[in-house]
């Protein structure tokens, strides 16, 4: 039991930090431009596939730097040529544009790399067990992933809170017109923020690709969870996104690891004489409902606290 708790906590924190790499970009983009970027998870997928392809050509370490930059460039192009032109039609049009993009990117990826998973492997330099805990080998690559995400988290925090650029970005979040009057090019700030957000998503893809499955449906699988995370944390709140990411990561990891069901907990009270729906619910294991849990969380938080955990505004 202790083993399960330790390993699951590690995995959960790891998954949570990965989610935060994505949700942080999404949150900053949302609070700045009012656009919920549907294609954010697609940038994550692009990162994974670029990482795979570049690893094949030039090795993992250059790919780790180049792939996020490429994804960032794609993101900036999307902002400059897509969103900026759509802005005049309103937020719904922008949301729909990113929705169409997400759809198109998935199709393009499956067209180029096929629909089956690609063979994106952990680099040889990191392919060893980092430590052994309760007779389970914990892979070094996961520690590496954790280190990278924590590093980015700290860097993001410092950049936003301690630098001049961060100051301008924070100002542009709430008072874009004032920032514009002070002589800053708000359009370019938006483009840069969008690019950095996409690059972060791409980085998450590059490092998550080898550990998870790199496949053309990975964006569609992660995307809805990502939205749950940022609604749960409170739209536009970075600390909220952080807490919600970790929480969702832990909940999902623990749910997958646990194998209990109502039947195993309250065996003798079997309602098999009742309608068969009850039997279904009775026999389902926690691991089976793991994919549903984030959405249940979403519904619960919306009923209890509609603005999300740390959200301040009713959008």
């Amino acid at each position: 039991m202790l083993e399960l708790i330790v390993i699951s906590t590690l995995n959960g924190v790891l998954f949570g930090m990965l989610l935060f790499l994505l949700s942080s970009g999404l949150t900053v983009i949302f609070s700045m431009m009012g656009v919920l970027n549907f294609a954010h998870a697609s940038f994550y997928m692009l990162g994974a596939f670029f990482g795979y392809q570049l690893t094949k050509w030039i090795g993992f370490w250059p790919a780790l730097v180049l792939a996020p930059l490429l994804v960032g460039a794609v993101g900036m192009a999307v902002e400059r040529y897509g969103l900026r032109n759509t802005h005049k039609h309103g937020h719904v049009a922008e949301l729909l544009l990113t929705f169409g993009l997400a759809f198109a990117i998935e199709e393009i990826v499956s067209m180029i790399w096929g629909k089956s998973p690609v063979d994106y492997r952990v680099p040889a330099a990191l392919d060893f067990p980092a430590f052994t805990i309760f007779s389970t080998n914990y892979p070094a690559y996961k520690i590496f992933m954790l280190a990278i995400s924590v590093l980015i988290f700290v860097a993001l925090l410092v950049a936003l809170k301690r630098t001049r650029v961060g100051l301008i970005v924070q100002a542009a979040l709430t008072h874009p017109h004032m920032v514009g009057h002070l002589g800053h090019n708000v359009g370019r700030i938006f483009m840069l923020v969008f690019g950095v957000g996409s690059a972060l998503a791409g980085l998450a893809g590059v490092i998550a690709g080898p550990a998870l499955v790199t496949q053309s449906d990975m964006a569609a699988l992660l995307g809805p969870i990502l939205f749950v995370v940022i609604v749960f944390g409170g739209l536009g709140s970075l600390p909220g996104a952080f807490i919600a990411s970790l929480f969702t990561g832990l909940v999902q990891t623990f749910a997958v690891a646990l194998n209990g069901s109502l039947a195993s907990a309250f065996g003798p009270l079997d309602p098999s004489i009742g309608p068969s729906v009850l039997t279904d619910i009775w026999n389902v294991t926690i691991a089976q409902i793991a994919p549903v849990l984030p959405y249940v969380l979403l519904v619960v938080i919306l009923i209890v606290r509609p603005m999300g955990l740390l959200g301040t505004r009713e959008t």
Binding site: L96, E107, S276, D280, L298, V299, T315
Partner: protein, 434 residues
Amino acid sequence: MTSTVTSASDVAAKPSGQNLRFYGLWVVAAIALVVLPLIFSSGGSLTSFSLIGIAIIFALSYNILLGETGLLSFGHAVHYGLGGFAAVHMMNAVTSHGWPIPLPVIPLVGGIGGLGLALLIGWVMTRRAGTVFAMISLGIGELVASSSLILRSVFGGESGISTDRTALPHIFGWTFGPQIQVYYLIAFWVLVSAMAMYALTRTPLGRICNAVRDNPGRVEFIGYDPHVVRYLAYCFAGFFAGIAGGLAAINFEIANSAYLGAVQSGMVLFATFIGGASYFFGPILGAILVTYLQLGLTSVTSVWQLYFGIIFIGIVMFAPGGIAGLLMMHRPLIRARTLGLVIPSYLVATLPTLALACGVILSIETVARYTVTGGEGNIVKLLGIPFNTTAPTTWGIAAVLVVGGFIVARITWRRIAEAWDRAASIARDRGYLA
């Protein structure tokens, strides 16, 4: 100068001739629905018509949310699917218990299924509009779709639940075995639902929905609760989506979890938006086009969904009113008789735009089939000309078409915009809004 267009006077003093024209339109639609299968009587076209009919009801129901109330839902298929499952379970129950319920009533059961779910989840969902509603609808959609795989006894797991539509009590000797009878059943429900949904847009509720879409704060000031209005609109949308789902269940004789999924929700959004959400007939156009493309493109290309995505992005960026919006833009020009000023520039733009489209199609197909080796797999037939996707000449042609087409087409598009401005300003001078 007798009919200067202002919508208020339009509604107030509608001449009786216009009323006649309005009812005539429905009669013509009804006749068209009856006559269509007599002209195109092959099995394939009957199946297509049935699918299009279902898609029309579904898209119109979606437009109650998107077009009328301004709610962007990413999970509308939930009601469609629930309607389908309700219909299938009802049909099986009718068969096994021998109840005297004929098949034509079953879509109503589907509608009640969709409505039931809407009543249940709608109150929480419609608390807020805009982006938050979109996110919640996505989450709820995923929730229901994933739950459907857990509750096997209701949703039948991966394989779904099948039924037999011919086993229900027959009326007037109709067994509903042949596709033509199913088509007429669907056509009947299309007409009834379309009329009901059109009537809904004319009721005070429909009008207040429009007001909630445009300015919820103002609606609150005059004493309506936008939340309640959104909830009612959501319930109506759920009901009609359920009817569409019930018809789909009858048509395919099966309901499975794919009915509820994100793909189905995405398709109805595409159909509605491509057709145009701001006019009642927009979703009808969109449903016809999308279903037709879906059926037609799958046999031609393996990446047909990519074309959907591209068309959708193009519509969102350049014509947010959809096809209906594009068509209706020309109405004031036709009335002011200045359409002739625009048509020459359209004709000039056709060729480079087509070249650009061909270039894009050729590039996409080249990439898609590049990895296919051997046989006819890597031959693209475009306009009857075979292109080998591994040959550099094909890549060259595609590049020239895309780049050259784009440069020339952009010039012609600018000319369209200029001609359009001229025509529109003349129309405005003559007293027609443009």
